[in-house]
């Protein structure tokens, strides 16, 4: 409506970053299923975004192995996002990945005017670098503190205590994905529920006695024969 006084209007971005463990332990079926699950989740992410037209969903992917590397460096609007498979390579340098994200969560480059970002961490192992230092750097940024965080533990070897610390909220638990079916469900949940949580207004948590879980992880079926 052109006769509205004032400057231009715009909806606010939700920056969603996949943080994917691409160490050698992910080789084989795990990385294949992860690629499949994220590719399949993209249409659902679009659907959530369309249901919430006031939020502009922007996607990025950061992989970590011997080094942290942007798979999609520039934020891509969900409607333009196409999944390109990630490959395995080396160690599990989660700390470096968190450092890289912490630099992106400074303002700038993050805008002041945005909805909470989403960090979705997927890992099957134990970090091989100083991950606590990376987590401290992330927690020290204003947007890092506000981010909606989800964590998916693939298989029995995943270090759940690291993922728990990444979540930073004892009310939240990493989601266990012990089979391809569970991984697909977990990715689907992380893709959608976290985006919804990021765009809901809430009272700032000033009362330690009142916890507000921003989202409820699903109960995943455990009837899959193919278990990691």
């Amino acid at each position: 409506m052109s006769d509205i006084p004032g400057g231009p209007m715009a909806n606010r971005p939700v920056h969603f970053i996949w943080l994917l463990d691409c160490s050698y332990s992910m080789q084989g079926e795990k990385i294949g299923q992860l690629n499949y699950a994220i590719r399949e989740a993209v249409p659902e992410m679009r659907s959530v975004a369309h249901d919430n037209p006031a939020a502009q969903l922007l996607l990025r992917t950061l992989t970590f192995s011997t080094e942290a590397r942007w798979h999609h460096k520039d934020p891509v609007p969900v409607d333009d996002f196409t999944w390109q498979d990630v490959q395995v390579d080396g160690m599990t340098n989660l700390g470096e990945a968190l450092e890289v994200v912490s630099r992106e969560f400074q303002t700038p480059p993050m805008p002041q005017r945005a909805l909470k970002p989403v960090l979705a961490l997927v890992s099957d192992g134990v970090p091989t670098d100083d991950w606590k230092s990376g987590l401290r750097a992330l927690d020290a940024t204003p947007w890092g503190k506000k981010a909606v965080r989800v964590a998916i533990a693939i298989g029995a070897d995943a270090d759940r205590s690291v993922l728990q610390e990444f979540l930073g909220n004892p009310e939240l638990q990493p989601l266990d994905a012990n089979s391809p079916k569970q991984l697909a469900a977990a990715i689907r949940w992380a893709s959608t529920a976290a985006v919804k949580a990021a765009s809901q207004p809430v009272a700032a948590p000033t009362d330690a006695t009142v916890k507000q879980p921003p989202y409820a992880p699903p109960q995943l079926d455990d009837d899959d024969d193919d278990v990691w």
Partner: protein, 299 residues
Amino acid sequence: MSAPERPLWETLEHSVQGVNKQINQDWYVAEGSGSQGDPLILSVADGHGSAAHARSHIGARCAVDLFAVEARRFAELARSEGPDGATHSLSWLMNYARNELPRQLVAAWQEQVLAHWDRYPETVNPAAEPPHKGQKLLLYGATLVGAVLTPQMFAAWQLGDGELTVIDADGAIALPLAPVEADLGDETESLCSRQAWKMVRVHWAPVVARDRTPRLVALSTDGLSKSFASDEGFAQFMTGLDQRLAKDGGPDDVRDALPGWLAEAARYSGDDTTLVAARRPGPDAADHGAAADRPRSDA
């Protein structure tokens, strides 16, 4: 037959529901003439609206209704005498505005929403442990912006997000209750926060000369400001609103256009969007203050 008296203030108000929201969780009021005996009271409240705050539309309504009660009481104190027979001093009133009113408002709000809970407790799972006080308050969480204007005084209060915009007699725009650092994302301080009264920001501006009274006072929920790509865009909206109201027939034209403007804003912010504004009709409006103080008659 004498000409009709010009009002001290022209007011306009409207609220629209956010896109995909089931109900509008904002509430607002604009009442009174702005005279000594009939203070102008403006207020908007914004219920948080998410699942964690399922009754926030009720919390918002309670907030506005209780603010109006407290604002009327405050205006009455400003014109009445203290125990020593003299009118209350400005410093006494300022202290009351900064400390007493926020305490009383938050306490009254808590009492009212907890009473609402007692009347309508949730019975989804009768076996579950009943929620404690903090959990009940959380359901009703809301923000509040409120202002009271008399010929002698302009005071305003804010808890959480939203905007108080003031355009002074010279046309300069200010947001006197804007926080030093804006909350990131959609988190906000709230009436349901612990010791919420301490978070109330207060604007205290006694009117030293009637022609220096602000010419526009606007209160809005964050659905409006967050629809603009920048803070400057929101400020331009307010100065544009002021200019449109100043034109011949401006108030009626703006009232007609306002629902469309707010609906457009809500499309971008996604939030319920509410604006309450009062503008002095003209430079000679203050001369009518005494007339407006005369008792009104329904006859």
